[in-house]
């Protein structure tokens, strides 16, 4: 296991009466790509600001490399930030912006030049040294900001929604580049975003946040396949969420029928929510389908048709299908037991993990 570099111990942040962070605990390991994901106002940027040292935590400890750093000022932390608005100094050109942290440390001129040129080459901006900040595009400014943050060789790089100002195409490009950069340098990245696609594509580990709390921590695949609750399921990707109840272990009832599933460890007849991703539903004939669905709308999305409809008990379903159908038609929807994910109400992440442990252990015994 990699070394823990940053640890939050019960961090609470209050502004007057409003609690922005309600007891945050996590550990950040060295060399991984982390993403804080959540809707705006969930406290993710506040966490970043506490790590960087721009704001203090009201309560709790921030540990860096095993030492408490609550009172260490921002300029003494081995952490650098790429700001949402880049915050490049408009009175300095590209070279001087990147050289800024080196000039502060009185690094010899020759060394500065080598380091700055290296940093600019790393973000593919060689030859832009003499440009003014106002003369380069948003995407290029973004790269300068990254070069400036990395030239100090920080242990951790914080990125505060750095791609939000870029257009779709550039964004996708930068996602690849950032991920590649992180893997090449082996520096810990902590990336803040409200874009779930971005989070899924880039991260080793995602913290899903809402209203000042971390709801779920895990790899992109874990979080996508096994969301802990309604919020996470809804926020990450698209989902069909319907109410049902557990009949027994590995047996769940919803939409007026009973189905096999792969979830267990709940009380008998416990009310639950069932998640099935739109891409896991296949359109078939009514006879072969597990559910009978009346098609309400159909949209062509290029790669697939997006079909919405309702079943006999009134649940809405969204299906992504490569085959088209007709509005008003009755079709069958087919899915496998593994496609069903069952969520309990108000289950904490600890309990969720513990429950998974019990029966996933059994799985491997069988």
């Amino acid at each position: 296991m990699a070394k823990t570099i940053i640890e939050f111990q019960d961090i609470v942040k209050e502004y007057g009466d409003t609690k922005v962070l309600k007891g945050i605990n996590f550990e950040i390991e060295q060399g991984k790509f982390y993403t804080l994901l959540g809707p705006s106002g969930c406290g993710k940027t506040t966490i970043l600001r506490i790590i960087a040292g721009f704001t203090d935590a009201t309560r709790g400890n921030v540990m860096f490399d095993g030492k408490k750093i609550n009172n260490v000022p921002a300029n003494k932390r081995k952490v650098n930030t790429v700001f949402q608005d880049y915050a490049l100094f408009p009175h300095l050109n590209v070279f001087d912006n990147v050289a800024f942290p080196l000039n502060l440390r009185k690094v010899p001129k020759k060394e500065i030049r080598t380091k700055v040129l290296d940093a600019l080459r790393m973000v593919q901006l060689s030859g832009f040294e003499e440009r003014e900040i106002s003369e380069i595009s948003g995407g290029q400014q973004q790269r300068v900001a990254i070069a400036r943050a990395l030239v100090n060789e920080p242990d951790v790089l914080l990125l505060d929604e750095p791609l939000s100002a870029l257009d779709m195409k550039l964004r996708k490009e930068m996602q690849y580049e950032l991920r590649a950069l992180q893997q090449r340098l082996g520096i810990t990245f902590i990336f803040v975003t409200h874009d779930q696609e971005e989070a899924l594509a880039m991260s080793d580990e995602i913290f899903v946040m809402n209203a000042g709390q971390i709801l779920q921590t895990g790899s992109p695949v874990d979080i996508y396949d096994e969301p802990i609750n309604h919020f996470v399921a809804d926020f990450i990707g698209e989902s069909n969420i319907v109410r049902g109840h557990m009949v027994a272990d590995y047996r769940v009832a919803f939409a007026g029928k009973e189905f096999d599933c792969v979830d267990a460890g709940m009380r008998q007849n416990e009310p639950v929510e069932v998640v099935i991703r739109p891409e896991d539903l296949d359109i078939t004939t009514v006879e072969k389908g597990a559910l009978t669905i009346t098609v309400d709308t159909q949209l062509f999305r290029g790669v697939f048709f997006e079909i919405t409809g309702h079943d006999d008990t009134g649940n809405m379903w969204r299906i992504q299908s490569i085959h088209s159908t007709e509005v008003g038609a009755k079709v069958g929807a087919y899915f496998d037991p593994e496609d069903i994910h069952v969520m309990r109400f108000n289950e904490s992440e600890e309990d969720f993990d513990a429950r998974l442990e019990t029966y996933e252990g059994e799985d491997s015994d069988r």
Binding site: A74, D96, P101, K110
Partner: protein
């Protein structure tokens, strides 16, 4: 469409023509005539050869510089502090408020405060320093002039600091700069335009101060403003007065060029 556009130019054109161009042309024209009404370059020769006028010019520039330096010294920290306060608009208003009162009234108020037997003098006696000659000293002149000019320096600096994005400060700290380095390398350079505007707004009027030099400074400090007033009203030498006026206008233009925004592209050479 074209006609209506021309219509809007009328007030501005009249203003510029009557109150800016015509007076300047008249002053330049007047400066080439001697007391007796003959065309001459003598006024300029006189100006540049007589030690009196050059000394006055030096005095004007020197005192304007002192006033500007003092106001800047007080105004920058004040503007910076105002921006950190909770009700900053209110505090700013309190500083602007005195500018709404007539300049002459304020000056007379200072005469009352600083004169023999005035409030300040009495206070000094009470605390045991004893009565002092306060009015008609260089110090009181600088003090009052600085007091009057401060709002004009604070305002542009305040605005420049208010517009400064806090993320620049955060970025600077984040990259390892101490508070002082952040100030000297980021905050000050980025608010320099405000400082320049403030310097313009204070230095240029200070060059031609004359009322305060007389009422508070007791004419101990003779500046170009005083000289112009004397030539027009007392000696009736309009030619010489205009010549000094032209010199002042040139001095203002130079100041504006020095403190104006640089259009030139900065191309620094790094160790290559």
């Amino acid at each position: 469409m074209k006609q209506s556009k021309a219509f809007y130019y009328i007030p501005y054109g009249l203003w510029i023509g009557l109150f800016v161009i015509a007076p300047v042309v008249l002053i330049v024209y007047q400066s080439f005539f001697s007391v007796s009404g003959h065309f001459t370059l003598g006024n300029y020769a006189n100006y540049f050869h007589s030690g009196v006028y050059l000394k006055m010019t030096f005095n004007s520039v020197w005192y304007a510089f002192l006033i500007t330096a003092l106001t800047l010294l007080i105004s920058y920290p004040t503007a910076y502090l105002l921006n950190q306060l909770r009700h900053k608009q209110l505090w700013l208003l309190l500083i602007i408020l005195p500018t709404w009162i007539n300049l002459l009234l304020k000056t007379y108020a200072f005469i009352g405060l600083l004169s023999r037997g005035g409030s300040v003098d009495n206070f000094l006696s009470i605390v045991g320093i004893g009565p002092k000659q306060l009015l008609f000293t260089d110090a009181s002149f600088l003090f009052v002039a600085t007091y009057i000019e401060i709002p004009f320096m604070i305002l542009p600096i305040y605005n420049a600091i208010a517009e400064l994005s806090p993320s620049y400060v955060n970025a600077s700290r984040d990259l390892g700069a101490s508070s002082w380095q952040t100030f000297s390398r980021v905050i000050f350079p980025l608010t320099l335009d405000g400082v320049k505007s403030g310097v313009q707004a204070v230095f240029i009027p200070s060059l031609s101060l004359f009322m305060i030099t007389r009422l508070i400074g007791g004419n101990r400090v003779i500046t170009l403003g005083t000289a112009i007033e004397q030539h027009f009203l007392v000696t009736q030498n309009w030619g010489m007065g205009s010549t000094i006026g032209v010199v002042l206008i040139v001095a203002m233009l130079i100041t504006m060029l020095l403190t104006g925004e640089r259009r030139k592209k900065r191309r620094t050479n790094h160790a290559k």
